[in-house]
């Protein structure tokens, strides 16, 4: 039953992201903690979990805040699913590996959003916005993952332990 904590954490982060984290932007860019956490769980637990978590977190964000449903779910799903698949071949619990995943993941995430904005006929300057938002956010997210990844690993172990013990009892 501890698995529900994971979803509660994502929910909590979505709410914090829209309220308190509005005040911690640097150079006009906010970090995306929801992406960071969902990406970390996908790294640790594989792609199946990536699908569930990203659909849950992404759809909640879109329904509550975005005008187009799916605009943050799609990049979240693709990025975390692919990193879930790749993670089988790497040492997952190293902070360095996670930070590389988050850095590249954030850039790809923003590229997919920009792609969907092109589909929706938004007017924007691609190159300027890429450096302005995508790169800055990637750096910001990487700093966050470097600080918090070890706690996410501990939290994840705590959840998985309970699942194993549940099976042992049966």
């Amino acid at each position: 039953m501890r698995i529900i904590y994971k979803y509660l954490l994502v929910l909590l982060l979505i709410i914090l992201q829209s309220t308190l984290f509005q005040y911690i932007s640097f150079f006009g860019v906010k970090p995306d903690t929801v992406l960071v956490v969902i990406l970390s769980f996908s790294l640790l637990n594989g792609q199946t979990e990536a699908i569930y978590l990203s659909l849950f977190g992404g759809l909640f964000q879109d329904i509550l805040f975005n005008n187009a449903i799916g605009v943050s779910t799609l990049p979240l799903l693709l990025v975390s699913y692919v990193s879930g698949i790749i993670s089988k071949n790497v040492f997952k619990e190293s902070t360095f590996v996670a930070s590389v995943f988050v850095f590249i993941g954030t850039i790809v995430y923003n590229l997919i959003i920009m792609f969907s904005m092109v589909l929706m006929k938004y007017h924007f300057d691609f190159a300027a916005n890429f450096t302005d938002i995508a790169i800055k956010q990637a750096i910001y997210n990487t700093v966050i993952i470097i600080i918090f990844y070890k706690y996410i690993v501990i939290f994840n172990r705590y959840i998985n332990d309970s699942r194993k013990s549940l099976f042992k009892d049966m």
Binding site: I14, I15, L16, Q17, S18, T19, L20, F21, Q22, Y23, G28, V29, K30, D32, V34, Q47, T48, I51, L55, F60, Q61, I63, L64, F65, N66, N67, A68, I69, G70, V71, S72, T73, L74, L77, L78, Y81, N110, I113, M114, S116, M117, L119, M120, Y122, H123, F124, D125, A128, N129, D132, I133, Q137
Partner: protein
């Protein structure tokens, strides 16, 4: 089919992705009726968000006021001088208003422009991402809010437009969002144009004719040619530019509202049926 089962998940994800793109295309643009589950999800989180947003605002205000302590006396003096000046202007304007009314009555001029009616609301959260400038407010269909209504800040400057409405919450598209466009007019020269958001929290006025005479410092308001009531202040002209070879001018507008520190807003409930 072992081969199929191996790729089952990938195919599944692919179909979800396609469905999401379809959902984007369907729901993009706003003005659509919010479905029951969406409305329900929003109304659960509205109170929590409201409290947290207020807390954040309180902390940020506190830090800001500490920073401002040094300049308080100076600003106070400046403001007091301005109040004296404005009081005198006000008396003059009152006389002009009376005169205007007398003349209108004499001419039997029909005034179609009724006073704007507003409902006050509190912001409960802003868009978590960096790409879209939207925020949510704490009133919805329960207070008669409809998509397309204009949203003002406390001082009456235009800040956005209601796009989706839930039972006790609504999504507002801010005018600085890239997707927003508002028909606007220069109050001095009567030049018409469209005000769009740019990426950095500023505004650009486009489709200005080449002979437009607007200059730096002019005030831009909503024009009478959109669904919004006319005369809502949008911002001031920062600079006017013309790209070589182009037949139109552009103007960079500084929004009058402070989008970083919004807390209470006013929703204008009069809305016209014509135009977009």
């Amino acid at each position: 089919m072992p081969r199929f089962s191996k790729y089952k998940q990938v195919i599944f994800v692919f179909f979800i992705a396609v469905a999401l793109i379809a959902a984007m295309a369907y729901s993009y643009g706003g003005g659509r009726d919010v479905t029951k589950p969406e409305s329900f999800a929003g109304s659960i989180f509205a109170p929590v968000q409201k409290t947290l947003y207020k807390t954040g605002n309180y902390i940020s205000n506190f830090i800001r006021s500490i920073k401002e302590i040094g300049t308080l006396r100076e600003t106070n003096n400046k403001l007091q001088n301005e109040v004296e000046k404005l009081k005198k202007d006000n008396i003059k304007l009152q006389e002009l208003i009376n005169e205007n009314q007398r003349l209108k009555q004499a001419l039997e001029f029909k005034d179609k422009n009724s006073e704007i009616v507003t409902k006050s609301a509190t912001i409960i959260g802003k868009n978590p991402g960096n790409w879209f400038n939207t925020f949510n407010i704490d009133i919805g269909t329960n207070e008669g809010i409809k998509p397309g209504m204009a949203v003002l800040d406390e001082k009456g400057n235009m800040i956005g437009e209601v796009t989706n409405v839930g039972s006790n919450w609504s999504k507002v598209l801010s005018i600085v969002d890239r997707d927003s466009s508002v028909s606007a007019i220069d109050i001095r020269t009567r030049d018409n144009g469209i005000v769009r958001g740019d990426s950095n929290g500023g505004l650009i006025m486009i489709y200005l004719p080449l002979d437009a005479e607007l200059i730096e410092g002019d005030i831009i308001t909503t024009s009478d040619m959109s669904k919004f009531p006319k005369g809502l202040i949008i911002g001031k002209v920062l600079k006017v530019t013309k790209e070589p070879g182009s037949l139109l001018k552009q103007a960079v507008i500084k929004p009058s509202a402070d989008f970083e520190r919004l807390e209470y807003v006013l929703v204008v409930t009069n809305i016209k049926n014509t135009g977009k």
